[in-house]
Symmetry: C2
DNA sequence: TCAAAAGTGTTCACCGTACACCCATGG
DNA sequence: CCATGGGTGTACGGTGAACACTTTTGA
């Protein structure tokens, strides 16, 4: 019988997190060096097991918090991976989540404690198990999200320049964008506030700083749209 | 320790399938009346439990086959649901899949054996547990898929009229489309073959039948595109 | 004064959309 | 001959994409 509650095989359920950050004009991911077998010493996504009486979203947040100290992070469930031998020790099903965090205010000590390190997505080491597959999935989801929702709030510092925002989009999409077209498209979204302040670090002339209009931003997050870039 | 393999709670992992069909100009879903407790007699998605040594995709196919006799069906993983009390009997995590099938050649006896029935998505009964939520998810995924991939091959009979295809899109998107614009957009996809045959049932004049060009169709499935309807 | 990044508009091609009339046939 | 659904084309507006020069200022 297909539906009987008895005599069914329970499984181990893991949660793995792909953590994206943006720094130095590059899209990065946070990886940990495993300090236990199997695959000890290899790079891996941050993961853990789902607890009894815990919801997946909560597990993902807990794991993220455990490694980075972050709380209230944008996370989204990606996909559930179930290949038989994905984990050589024991049959484990893994639900992958991805998170977007602002690299600027991360907890550096905490990250170092866990042998964690930021890698450029273009230059990441080979990961254990099927984590490479998860990463690929996450990148394509992030790209998709870019074309249907505004993005940036989660990955950029409070104040940022247009150029930084453009570089972020370029990093996510892996392609160069035209400055003028980019600005007019972003402006048409109507989620930015231009400040009177300038950032003087990147050029002699200085460039205006912007913030996200949190309310408008969240509103746009609810309704899908299409942004062709 | 977050990563220890020992002392971890294993869970029951279910698979639930949202099965879409298209019939009588309506988008339908296949539901079963539960013949066991809890919620015996209520309508439910088709589900079952993941077996040890079985991949999720396989489990989804197995469940679909068990109820409908279908094989080689288009299926896609949707999302994993993990609310603590979603199943009142025992903590169960459920991975939802959706499938697209051609109603014409379904196995009617098999379906009747399991108290299964087709319902219009607009007129479906209340479902057990969180199955309504799953259904909503599936519909929005199907809509999204419609705008990035060709669709129809899976849901329509071998030969069909333009009007049928249009009705399918209208049913999925819940909005009316302009005949002329629809045809030119579909033609621009370049996946249809116009046959010399006409369907004489729907009108006196008769309307041309089409088939999908399987090769081109599959090719388009690989590369995303955007189809604004 | 010059190097380096910031800022700013216009034109063109294409596509999405709205829209209306004739055609073929069976009854 | 007429009612019913089938089939077809055009015009307009909006948007994505390409493109280059001026401004500011610290060194």
């Amino acid at each position: 019988m297909l539906n009987s509650y008895s005599a069914t095989d329970k499984v181990l359920l893991a949660v793995d997190c792909i953590i994206f950050g943006f720094d130095n004009d590059e899209l990065k991911i946070l990886l940990v060096k495993r300090d236990f077998e199997p695959e000890k010493g290899k790079w891996s996504l941050m993961g853990g097991f789902l607890k009894k009486d815990e919801v997946l979203n909560t597990a993902a947040s807990r794991i993220l918090n455990y490694y980075t100290g972050f709380q209230d992070i944008y996370m989204e469930q990606l996909y559930t991976f179930s290949e038989i031998d994905r984990d050589p020790v024991e049959r484990t099903i893994s639900v992958a989540y991805y998170a977007l965090i602002n690299v600027e205010n991360h907890n550096e000590e905490l990250i170092q404690n866990y042998n964690a390190e930021w890698f450029s997505v273009n230059d990441a080491p080979k990961l254990i198990f099927d984590h490479d597959k998860m990463l690929k999935h996450a990148i394509s989801r992030l790209r998709y999200r870019t074309s249907t929702k505004p993005i940036g709030f989660e990955l950029l510092p409070e104040k940022f320049t247009m150029r930084q925002l453009q570089k972020l989009y370029e990093a996510i999409l892996s392609k160069e964008l035209d400055k003028r077209n980019f600005i007019s498209k972003i402006n048409s979204l109507d989620v930015l506030i231009k400040l009177d302040e300038k950032d003087m670090l990147s050029s002699r002339k200085g460039s205006y700083l912007y913030t996200f209009d949190k309310e408008k931003y969240e509103e746009k997050l609810l309704n899908d749209f299409v942004l062709n870039l």
